[in-house]
């Protein structure tokens, strides 16, 4: 096993595993968010569960953070190694003749998503951590001293999407997410060695996933902006 963890194939395998985990997380995140269009109560209940359940908070959340950090750190490592593999560039290179823009620019779409994650953490995650773990308010209520005030999550969500610039930034980020997934979904399967009779169908499914999930997030952001 010595040296295997440093091999190019093992690195790509690890990259693919973290990608599978993140794509599953994205689906789960979308499934909860989309309820906010149909029912404020269901969204509030699900958000409260995710925000206070010990298994989610203390087991799954650290795994998720590790998955995100691992994916982008390994992405940077691979990018640097790949750049070093060609020290003299071509005077003329026609990449579009043989590969998609998405596949050649994963680092840029990835960086855009990373910037979005920073904004998303500033918008939602840091305030949550402050409320729950610094101020010690685990009630999830709009007014912690008033049990009748109702859960705060839906109201916070609507409040965030009042500003049009935030909606614009979110929409741009989801476009980059779609571009990243359009290559990344099927690339992850190839990296773990899955290229067989199911690949054709999987490619179609991957394209649908890559377009519909980010589009769904765009719809949610626009819905709350327009219905505040």
């Amino acid at each position: 096993m010595s040296g295997i963890l440093n091999s190019s194939i093992a690195r790509k395998f690890a990259m693919a595993l973290s990608a599978f985990f993140l794509m599953f997380f994205l689906l789960q995140h979308f499934a909860i968010n989309v309820t906010s269009i149909f029912s404020a109560d269901i969204f509030n209940d699900l958000s409260h569960f995710m925000g206070t359940n010990p298994l989610v908070q203390y087991a799954l959340q650290p795994v998720l953070i590790f998955g995100v950090v691992f994916h982008f750190v390994m992405g940077f490592i691979l990018e640097i190694k790949n750049k070093n593999a060609r020290t003299v560039k071509y005077a003329k290179n026609n990449g579009a003749a043989n590969s998609s823009w998405m596949s050649r620019n994963m680092i840029w779409s990835g960086l855009a998503i990373l910037a979005f994650i920073a904004l998303h953490f500033y918008d939602f995650w840091f305030p949550e951590i402050k409320t729950k773990f610094i101020e010690g308010d685990m009630s999830g209520l709009i007014d912690a001293n008033n049990a009748e005030s109702g859960l705060r999550y839906y109201e916070e969500l609507q409040h965030k999407f009042v500003d049009v610039w935030r909606v614009v930034l979110y929409v741009i980020a989801f476009v980059f997410l779609a571009l990243h997934l359009l290559h990344g979904f099927n690339s992850a399967f190839q990296s773990v060695g899955a290229n067989n009779k199911y690949t054709k169908g999987l490619k179609t499914f991957g394209k649908l996933y890559a377009i519909l999930i980010p589009l769904g997030f765009v719809v949610i952001a626009l819905f709350h902006h327009l219905n505040h």
Binding site: M1, G3, I4, N6, S7, S8, I9, A10, R11, K12, F13, L78, K81, N82, N84, A85, R86, T87, V88, K89, Y90, A91, K92, N93, N94, G95, A97, N98, S99, S100, S103, R104, M106, H183, N186, S187, Q190, S191, V192, G193, A194, N195, N196
Partner: protein, 248 residues
């Protein structure tokens, strides 16, 4: 047709090198790309200049020596051909054509358009073989049952001529298509099973040591490969490598 050639000129491995412009006239569409370069070199020699160094051997698409990056693509704009099989009819009168060597840290330039691809040889030496008893008691290969599908896929992989177009086309200079073809041609056959574990581990190790980049599955290698080697081989090598790693 009249063309403007922009060719990479580099005196030796240590020279910095630069693109030099050469106008050329009287090129016929039926000429191969290498014949066009022959005409240029005739002119350069007549004028007392140093001819452009480029690799070539068979000129029938099987030796894999003519490693030229033409107008931003390995072996030029045509598909499933090497540079010697590329005809000038693929270009138009008045075109400007960039001609560069295959670029990769693992393919250092020796002179002009000639690169050193011995890194491929070292990968092959590290595991691209099977051990056969040659004492006179060698079993006839045809006596070993092999399914038609496995034989066909192994043959498809074995058509790789090691030209390096996959490395040249890959934005990461990855050699995964070449190595995976060499791993696959044995992995699919019973004769290759005995050394299967060591083969894939050693070949990938050597590939990494040579300084090739990582595969990001852009698929550029498959598109530019003159022999149409499939990305399925890379997936097969990934599987072979992971299972070999677990076996140790």
């Amino acid at each position: 047709m009249n063309l403007t050639l922009k060719i990479w000129r580099q005196k030796n491995a240590n020279d910095k090198g630069q693109i030099v412009t050469y106008p050329i006239t009287g090129i016929e569409g039926d000429m191969s790309f290498l014949e066009m370069l022959d005409i240029l070199n005739d002119q350069l020699i007549t004028n007392g200049d140093d001819p452009v160094a480029f690799d070539h051997d068979c000129r029938e698409g099987i030796c894999g020596m003519c490693s030229l990056y033409i107008n931003g693509e390995a072996h030029g704009p045509d598909r499933l051909v090497t540079t010697c099989q590329l005809h000038m009819r693929k270009f138009k009168d008045g075109d400007t054509i960039f001609i560069e060597p295959f670029r990769a840290k693992a393919f250092p330039v020796i002179k002009d358009l000639v690169v050193d691809r011995s890194s491929f040889d070292r990968i092959q030496h590290s595991g691209g073989f099977i051990s056969v008893n040659t004492s006179g008691n060698t079993q006839d290969a045809n006596s070993i049952p092999i399914s038609k599908n496995a034989a066909d896929e192994a043959m498809d992989a074995a058509t790789c001529i090691g030209c390096g177009a996959c490395v040249a086309s890959c934005k990461n200079s990855s050699a995964m298509l070449f190595v995976s073809a060499k791993v696959s041609q044995y992995a699919l056959l019973p004769q290759g099973q005995v050394e299967a574990t060591d083969r894939v581990l050693n070949m990938v190790k050597q590939m990494d040591e040579e300084g090739f980049g990582n595969c990001t599955n852009t698929g550029a290698c498959e598109v530019e490969c003159p022999k149409g080697i499939s990305l399925e081989n890379i997936a097969r090598m990934n599987r072979e490598y992971l299972s070999a790693s677990l076996k140790g």
